[in-house]
Amino acid sequence: MFRSPLRRASAIAAASALSVGLVSTGAVITSAGASGNDGVTSNSITIGATVPVTGIASPGYSDVAKAAKAAFKYVNSKSNGVNGRQINFLIKDDCYEVPGFGCTGTPSTYSQTQALLNTSGGLFATVGSLGTATQDSVRSLLDNNGVPQLFVNSGSSDWNNASQYPRLFGWQTDYIAEGKIFANYIKANFKNKSVGFIGQNDDFGANGLTGLNRGGLSIPAMGTGDSFSYEATAAVAGNPFGSMLSKMKNDKVAVVVLDSIPVATKNIIQDAHAIGFKPQFVISGVGSDPQTVNNKYEVGALSLTFLPPTSDAKNAWNVWTKKVLLADSADFPKFTAKSILTGNMQYGVGWAVTFMQALRAMGQNVTQSGIVNILETQGSSFATPAVTALKYSSSNHQGLQGGLMVKISSATATTSITKAGTVYSAGDGGTAAPTTTKYITSPVPSWLG
């Protein structure tokens, strides 16, 4: 409390000295701003992502961006980057917007994206930022600044809105498409069996449920009948799953579809085991990776992947991904030649390769509008690890639209249960039944090293 003027002056002096010190720590004082800076120079390109490195969503998911970083590092060293440009990939921790003690400060996705945008020299694009709500919250910020928001790590349909957000692109198969494929499979293989549903209480669960019903099942809204919701971000209190599963068991439910992140998947299958309930689980690809879920009772569950099954040791992309990870012992110290890839690692490498393909296709003239144009016109022909084509066009920014039905075959790997040489394709978001299309195994381009 400022009783004396001198005391007040000393406090204000301390505050202003500190502010000058801090401002100069933060960045060099310039008045030029970021005008004309798009992160591209003749020999480098700067991109970034906000991902959960710590906090509730980090287990498993933190490997995604690390694997992508490993792929960029590999191409930087083996092929001197893409078209002679080194890729500088900045990762910022947003804790999935759930601050905790690993994550103090106000590490919101917004402030971390601001920090990326204001990287000296500018930012070319965000690539592979993770989360639906988190990425929704920065759509306007990035769009207003003309910075592309590429390959958001989420299966929400929010990324496919080219008229409002022309530089926004998704990558993975969306939850509606996944739900349609699940519904199709369940109708064919579990005829007239009763189906239950547990979904995360946000877009993830809601879109998944929409997909299941568009695919021809009739599952009631979450919270009614054998259809339930749970909160992903609220603190765990009580045991929500025991009574849900118990009701399904009493109702003789034979198939349970889960739209859950790995932590919740684990709790659900364990609870089911504990009450002696053994339905066929069908789990969203987002929450089924066996090495992340890490529970033996998951074996036998079904899921969807748009990447080659992790048990396929001969797949050229799996081989290349292993090489990439082995070369990056700093980020993957425990990964050895005998390790099996996780879905998260494949996924990160998948969109990293897509970005490098787009960069290569642009040639020397790398611009922010150029990459949008390249993705819309040539994206569907890019060779990527995905087993189905990216369906990018001027009106479709969603990305992949299908995948393989797989079985969790062991505590570490998945195997395909789809007819050899084919994949399911969900077509558009409407009610048209999914079709089978050709299983794509693109060769690994030699320029990737």
Binding site: M1, F2, P5, L6, R7, R8, S10, A11, I12, A13, A14, A15, L18, S19, L22, V23, T25, G26, I29, T30, S31, G33, A34, S35, V53, T54, S58, I91, D93, E97, V98, P99, F101, G102, C103, T104, G105, T106, S108, S111, Q112, Q114, A115, L117, N118, T132, T134, D136, S137, R139, S140, L141, N144, N145, D202, D203, E231, T233, A234, A235
Partner: protein, 360 residues
């Protein structure tokens, strides 16, 4: 010198107004000079300083420890965001005023038990409040956006402002400076109010209640009302900070406003200095710059920011600083500055005395 001292003594309110005006102009100038990234930091610093100075009043002046102010920030932020859902061009001042009003009411409601609770019971109850608010907001459903949060159109930079600062062709720079300018002006008004309140009759009553509530009652202070008033003002400031945060980020997510934010406010407050305006300003700056300081440390030490250690470095440093501050310099950085200045003055006085005695 003498005349300035006299001016401060005779016309304290005018002196404070003048000091606020000078500081505001200086900060606005700084906002225009620095690059867009530092503008976002200045905005964050102003917002956090508002929330922290409100907490400073509650803890430092009225002696009630709260770990619940993140909850009031959430209420302020969501009030503004819900307002923005229904109004295409929402007025800045209107939405801030509404947020302040709603969070003040919430502060009174939470403050009422404070008339009966003491010490850890009160701290624990506010903690429980902070814990409860995000799931409560989620449970409101689509009205408050559920767990997906709310989004609304970004703050528009007025054309006159962009051209005045010479950034007409650089919307990013203009927008960041505009956001910083709004936050700085609002913070200046808030600090001016607080400076006057500290010296007002109510402010003195609060100090008396903190130091000796029985004596306060004997001299006619309404103890219960004073305690609730502290909660109400503290909540109003937190709500204002939340509203500004929502306006500048044009999005709000419930889980941002968890207990961790409350703990951070408390920690920064203690670090800056309890019950002082300067301390709250310092704390705001540290809040804004802590990320870039930690990333500096990461690059100096070569710790990978994406590793387990790199990700938790900030938490460890924060914890160590808190403990060290409390055990070694409980009056915080502001108090430390004061102690240094007193030390220097006493040395100067000593020297003067020596030189006087040396002269024959």
């Amino acid at each position: 010198m003498v005349s300035i001292k006299q001016f401060i003594a005779n016309r304290p309110t005018s002196a404070r107004a003048l000091a606020t005006l000078v500081a505001t102009i200086a900060l606005l100038g700084l906002a225009i000079i620095v690059d867009p990234l530092n503008d976002t930091y200045l905005a964050t610093a102003s917002i956090m300083a508002i929330a922290i100075v409100g907490l400073s009043l509650l803890i430092g002046l009225s002696g009630q420890v709260s770990i619940g102010n993140s909850g009031f920030m959430a209420i302020g932020a969501f009030t503004t965001a819900i307002w923005a859902q229904h109004h295409a061009h929402f007025p800045l001042l209107g939405s801030m005023a509404l947020s302040v009003a709603v969070s003040t009411v919430a502060g009174i409601v939470l403050g009422l038990p404070s008339t009966r609770l003491r010490g850890p019971y009160l701290a624990g109850m506010t903690l429980a409040f902070a814990f409860a608010i995000p799931p409560f907001i989620q449970s409101l459903g689509t009205f408050a956006g559920g767990s997906g949060g709310l989004y609304f159109p970004t703050l528009q930079t007025p054309a006159w402002f962009a051209s005045a600062i010479g950034e007409k062709d650089n919307p990013l720079a203009a927008n960041n400076t505009w956001g910083a300018a709004i936050a700085i002006v609002v913070a200046a008004v808030a600090f001016f109010f607080m400076a006057n309140f500290f010296h007002s009759r109510s402010g003195r009553a609060m100090r008396l209640v903190r130091d000796n509530d029985v004596a306060a009652e004997l001299v006619g202070v309404n103890v219960a009302r004073t305690r609730v008033l502290a909660f109400a003002i503290s909540a109003a400031f937190a709500g204002l900070a939340g509203s500004l945060l929502a306006i500048i980020q044009s999005s709000v997510l419930p889980q941002t406003f968890g207990v961790a934010l409350s703990i951070e406010l408390l920690s920064l407050l203690v670090l800056g200095g309890l019950g002082t305006l300067g301390g709250a300003m310092i704390a705001g700056l540290i809040a804004a710059y802590s990320d870039s300081i930690v990333s500096r440390i990461n690059s100096w030490t070569g710790i990978d920011p994406v590793s387990n250690l790199g990700g938790s470095l900030k938490g460890i440093i924060f914890g160590l600083i808190l403990i060290a501050t409390m055990l070694l310099a409980p009056s915080g950085l502001a108090g430390l500055g004061h102690r240094i200045s007193r030390f220097v003055r006493s040395r100067v006085a000593q020297k003067k005395a020596l030189s006087v005695s040396e002269t024959p």
